[in-house]
Amino acid sequence: MEPLIFEMSVPGRLGHDLPANDVADYAAQLPPHLLRAELPLPELSELDVMRHFVRLSQLNYSIDSGFYPLGSCTMKYNPKVNEDAAAMPGFAAIHPLQPADQVQGALQVMYSLQEMLRNLTGMDAVTLQPAAGAHGEFTGMALVRAYHRSRNDLARTVVIVPESAHGTNPATCASLGMSVQSLKTDANGGVDMVQLRSLLNDKVAGVMLTLPSTLGLFESNILQIAEMVHAAGALLYCDGANMNALVGEIRPGDLGVDVMHINLHKTFTTPHGGGGPGSGPVACKAILAPFLPAPTVAQDGDRYTLFTPEHSIGKVRGFLGNFGMHIRAYTYMRQQGAKGLKQVSRDAVLNANYIRVKLGNAYTIAYDRPCMHEAVFSLKKMKQETGVKTMDVAKRLMDYGYHAPTVYFPLIVEEALMIEPTETESKETLDGFIAAMQAIAAEARENPELVKGAPHHTKLGRLDEVTAAREPKLRWLPTDPQSGGKFGSGRNPNLTSQLEQLERD
């Protein structure tokens, strides 16, 4: 494989070209006790660095290279026009503390984005501050807490969260010092209404629901749930990570949701980047608006200004949020328009149901009814009958050239396999994937060992994750044994594994 960048370092080599000092060398007079002893960074040429990261990139699977049906992640195509927009100097090279007069264009983008999100969610106010989905949850639930406090309703510290929820939901509650009350799913994949009724009381601050749920299902009792929650004096939070199923068609605000976050890095095509940056705006009803974090953008005639809401919970992040993601999402929404977004959600639902039906024979659907943007299967039966587990199918898919779907989530589905095709994938692509999945199901019956030993055709075999966690090796150290092939930088990524075999031979 590719060596670590540190292993390529040569003392004295330079990869930059900086101006000569044009004033006196004041730094030379800094007292030595303030100076660091050494700066142990690597030393490389620009070509060294370029090659290293180009080669590393070639070890990645990505949307731009193939179908990536990761459930709950909305791995849709990220339009390149978004990138051109964000790279414009007037967006990329402005300082967050410049006076408002100098950044009216940027504030206009933020304001318009707030407005469009408000519109799409059917809410009254929006903050763009949160940096990701979980951060949006934190912000949204902080609003809920602030609301109850403002009413002096201090006992409300319990949050009801379905067992099927994403891990960030309970973790968010904990990070706000709130306690989590788990809620069961009924036989149809909906909220257990009986249990919900029994749990709602005057300690409950709110209920966090994911809409559509992490089972990919629309909560058919949603209006009744909202009514019950409100009747109990609590608020309804919506985890809007799955907004791609609703956008342009259904407004969570109309369903009775009081506050929600939206992942711009899912529905609104800001690229996921291998784990961020994201952006998790929060939209809320008017009762929560006074508590929004600082700052939001306000319009004042034809001027835009930054604004701190009256009872703001304070700041949740430095400066103004992940602005670069705001531009991308703004660009996407302006290109789609409301009609385009409606087609987005419809096609997302169409594609997921196509997968659901086409794979319904070979695999077991967790809850057999029309799904929204993703289809969740349970491989419990396959496991019982063949010993092949969800992870085996996931790894075997790699041999067929596909990224795996999400596995073992939601936790309430045994041997869960969660497929979110997204609307940007064509019928031909889905058909190819379906054929591969069916072939694997056949293999599981006929030759289970083949599937259990997968992947067979990737450069890497399965990783030893247990040792990784038990004896964590979390950084390179100069004392590490030098690795990497003896043939220096001749590694052709297309050939790497063979090369290394050669070197071992």
Partner: protein, 437 residues
């Protein structure tokens, strides 16, 4: 309808395969009146129209490529080499998810492992995570780490940490019954013995370099942890948190070639001593081997994280700032040992030349006597807001940050980087002289 691959015929074929006639039949769970919501939306723009529209809006902003800038205060106009974008915009990096399937994500995983190592090298620490949202949230999460480790509920902060960091810390502390105490001299504070941690910024918000040599000993003696928030570029020159004995080091990675970007996305850095590794928030990549014995990388210590531990996780963070971390990694590799130091020296030199020249002017003087890095506070004869307005209107210069409210009087925080030329510095001095009369 850009980006939808479906033709009408294909949509129909798929509906048929599903066994419905209309897409609406798939929405039976949705209360009918909730469908077909109406939206008050601006009209859709085609791609050429979008380009024109965005060029128009962006040109209303005064960018730091065309305008000399003396604004810092946590976001710095350091140079971004061209090579970086060629790496970060590669689809393989940009359009991959969090590397949950390591066999297909070694590019992302190895680059994060390298990022973690570089953060440790800069900060002089043992281990680092895969990134946090930004510097302010890194600091807040570090404080929560200290609270968890020490089981104490007070946090002492220097009153010269970035105001946004303090604000975010207070938001994060809320709900955990944590008391945040801001003070000018944290290690002499009476509550030190009850504090989970002491947090200082290095250099501080006003650019001052404090000798932190006796901090660690005093803090540790009191059973508390030392958290140092650092400016990575400054560490090209200055003593590192590790050398000062910090337990946790946090930083805003923006200065590592990320660019200004109107405040984000930036990248939060978080590193600590080995003994605290299981309290770290967020993702961590570790080295391991695959079934064929090949060196490989994988997300590890995941039992700290929300997707495994849920409400018992060390943090709720999930998506972080991977692509920005990648850019910072590339930057740090390009700069390397010598380059980061050069950037630090030039930023330092420019600020000191500027300060020297400004103190020669009538009506201006340095607010603090302490050594400083690339920022310093000047007491000005007229209000900074007025100065900035005139700098902008007369010369298209983006002026300094107004700290009058914080420090009293007329006080402005001026910043330079390697990108300010002597010409720009002299021009600023000339204008200040003129405005000060």
């Amino acid at each position: 309808m850009a980006y939808s691959p479906h033709t009408t015929a294909e949509r129909e074929a798929m509906l048929k395969a599903i066994g419905v006639e209309q897409i609406e039949e798939l929405y039976t769970a949705v209360p009918g009146e909730m469908m077909n919501a109406q939206f008050d939306f601006p009209p859709a723009l085609s791609e050429p129209e979008l380009h024109r529209h965005l060029r128009g809006i962006s040109s209303k902003n005064a960018d730091a490529l065309t305008h000399p800038i003396f604004l810092g205060a946590g976001a710095y106009n350091h140079f971004t080499p061209s090579a970086i974008r060629f790496i970060t915009q590669r689809g393989e990096f940009q359009t991959a998810y969090t590397p949950y399937q390591p066999e297909l994500s070694q590019g992302t995983l190895q680059s994060i492992y390298e990022f973690q190592t570089l953060v440790c090298q800069i900060a002089g620490m043992d281990v680092a995570n895969a990134s946090m949202y930004d510097g302010a949230t890194s600091l807040a999460e570090a404080a929560l780490m200290a609270v968890n480790i020490t089981r104490r509920k007070k946090v002492i902060i220097s009153d010269a940490i970035h105001p946004d960091s303090e604000a975010v810390l207070r938001t994060y502390a809320d709900g955990h019954q944590i008391e945040v105490i801001a003070t000018a001299d944290p290690i002499s504070h009476a509550e030190l013995g009850a504090a989970a941690c002491v947090i200082v910024q290095h250099p501080d918000f006003f650019g001052r370099i404090t000798d932190l040599s006796d901090y660690a000993a005093k803090v540790h003696d009191a059973g508390s942890l030392l958290i140092i928030a650092f400016y990575p570029t400054a560490l090209g020159l200055l003593k590192s948190p590790g050398e000062y004995g910090a337990d946790i080091a946090v930083g805003e990675g923006q200065s590592l070639g990320v660019g200004l970007q109107f405040g984000g996305p930036y990248v939060g850095l978080l590193a600590c001593k080995t003994q605290y590794v299981r309290s770290i928030p967020g993702r961590i990549v570790g080295q391991t081997k695959d079934s064929k014995g090949q060196r490989a990388y994988v997300l590890t210590l995941q039992t700290r994280e929300q997707h495994i531990r849920r409400e018992k996780a060390t943090s709720n963070i999930c998506t972080n700032e991977a692509l920005i971390a990648l850019g910072a990694t590339v930057y740090t590799c390009l700069m390397g040992k010598q380059g980061l130091r050069r950037v630090a020296e030039m930023s330092y030199n420019h600020a000191h030349y500027l300060a020297e020249r400004i103190t020669e002017l009538q009506g201006y003087k340095l607010h603090f006597a302490a050594p400083f890095f690339n920022e310093f506070v000047v007491d000005t004869p007229i209000a900074p807001a007025d100065l900035n307005k005139r700098l902008w209107e007369q010369a298209g210069i983006i002026g300094g940050f107004d700290v009058s409210a914080k420090l009293g009087g007329n006080a402005m925080l001026l910043c330079t980087t390697e990108q300010n030329t002597k010409e720009q510095l002299d021009q600023l001095v000339g204008l200040l002289a003129q405005f000060g009369k």
